[in-house]
Amino acid sequence: MAAAAEDLRRRLNTGTLLVLLLAALVGSIGAAVTVGPADISVSTVWAVVADRLRLGDADVPLLREHIVWRLRLPRVFGAAAVGGGLAAVGAVMQTLTRNSLADPYLLGVSSGASLGAVAVLVVGLGSGVAALTGGAFAGALAAFAVVVTVSGRRAVLAPTKVVLAGVAVAQLCAAATSFVIIWVADPHATQSITFWLSGSLARVDWAALAWAAPVLAAVLVLLAVHARTLNAFAFGEDAAATLGVPVTRVRWLLLVATALLTAALVAVSGAVGFVGLILPHAVRFLTGADHRRLLPAVVIAGAIFLVWVDTAARTLFAPRELPVGVLTALLGVPAFVMLLRRREVGR
């Protein structure tokens, strides 16, 4: 299997791979929008988009236009953004912490987000998407700030300390969230916590995407600029330093940027697990470990992955809907076990 992967890797040059993946992503988004309880064709989707962008004047019934423009399109784009972003963050975290089991939620960001969202509900700042998203975002950043403070000045020298502090803060936030839920005993809050903890794209609308998209774009550009620098971390931080990388500055810049992006994504979808953990490993089979190939490929692959998993989540048991995080966990856990076994064999 490894030999087959290597053979495939050699035959696919980077350009071809990215074009193929990009075509698959466009096809997936187009196809996913047409899937659902209401029967909608590709031409309808196209007519609605053209109409909205004032490229044409289509005569689409209002209900269908509503389904396409208000419900399905933002949701599918949301899945693509969250999937691509989480996969990129996972790949970078795995490199920076030299831990192949690292994922985007390692630094307590997702637990902070759920605490923030629940706090907004409970304090009564509102229950709209904007208020919840804002609360989740603030909570995620606050949790990350606490992680940085707790790990202290010496953390500059020890990334493991940052990781341990992340675990501790995540536990603290989870406990605080449970406490708030029980204290308030508000069914609304309970529903909300379930949503943030298991992850779902059901609430995504254009407003939520407008928050996340600029953060996603900016952080992806930053990561792309550092792709070659990330390669230098392969043999550890000291090795990177002797290769001329200003290790401390680069590490903090990228940790803060990825925490920011994770916060923005969690605010959109809650904590969707396993995408950031598994996708980088799967994509490395195709691209190898060089971040200049890995990062663009993993973003597109993550987007494709989550678009289809979310489509399955909303249609498999229709009219009931699964939280997408439940499905990613169902797919992710076996992949995770395979990864562990492969590591043992590799030793």
Partner: protein, 255 residues
């Protein structure tokens, strides 16, 4: 080429480096010797600016390393560690190309010069044809040679070796040091094996408890008296039958 002047470094109450002064002239291979915990690795880390000294000065090519940017220092001095490993699935040539990091012009692509330097470096460690071999399939000796090629691809003026032969069998130990010698780069090498040091080094510096206790040509420094003082061992030193370099044979400890 390399001068170390009055370097101190402590960890807690323990003085790891205690007024260390030594120099490595251009073109020479200098061995850094001494028992475990004598400060060899710390001294190399101070020179590579991975550790900050409490006091003292290190210059490479005439400039204080504290004043150089990381990238400038990485173009002047390359470090080969005891044991380098990675979880990532890299090929040999990808590892060697990491050595081009401080020279890169582009944030994205490898230049033709980078490629040429990497290919040349692999050839200089006798690993032509290994470019596409995966790191995990290489033996310990091959990995160290790939790391040496990575260091050569940095095109440094100074090579720092931290016990690079520690995990290798004797054939690979001799081969690696032969390759270092043949590369002709000014080198400071921490070594455990005194016979290897005597065979390959122009001069040796002996550290004990963080202090320089002897420095000079191997034949002058590696005497039975010094071995008794520094390592606490009884040994005979005789000329090598073929090369004439000092060769040490140890006596079992008196019981």
């Amino acid at each position: 080429m390399l001068t170390v002047t009055g370097v101190f470094r402590s960890a807690g109450a323990r003085q790891i480096l205690d007024d260390v002064t030594c120099r490595v002239p251009a073109g020479s291979l200098v061995g850094l010797l001494g028992p475990n915990g004598c400060g060899k690795t710390t001294l190399l880390r101070v020179i590579a600016r991975l550790t900050t000294p409490d006091a003292g000065r290190v210059t490479v090519g005439g400039d204080d390393v504290a004043t150089l940017s990381r990238a400038t220092l990485a173009r002047r001095a390359a470090l080969l560690a005891q044991h380098a490993d990675t979880d990532l699935d890299l090929t040999a040539i990808e590892v060697v190309l990491l050595g081009r990091t401080p020279h890169r012009r582009s944030r994205w692509s490898d230049s033709a010069a980078d490629r040429a330097a990497a290919d040349d470096a692999l050839a200089r460690v006798d690993l032509d044809g290994y470019a596409d071999r995966r790191w995990h399939t290489l033996s310990g000796g091959e990995r160290q040679r790939v790391q040496l090629a990575r260091a050569l691809a940095q095109q440094p003026r100074l090579l720092l070796l931290d016990e690079p032969t520690n995990h290798l069998d004797i054939g690979h130990q001799l081969h690696l040091l032969h390759l270092v010698r043949r590369a002709g780069i000014t080198t400071l090498a921490a070594l455990h094996d005194l016979n290897l040091a005597a065979m390959f080094c122009d001069t040796v510096v002996v550290l004990a408890a963080g202090r320089v206790v002897a420095a000079g040509a191997p034949a002058e420094v590696l005497t039975p008296q010094l071995l008794a003082d520094v390592y606490g061992v009884h040994a005979d030193v005789v000329p090598h039958p073929a090369t004439g370099s000092p060769t040490i044979t140890y006596h079992p400890p008196a019981s």
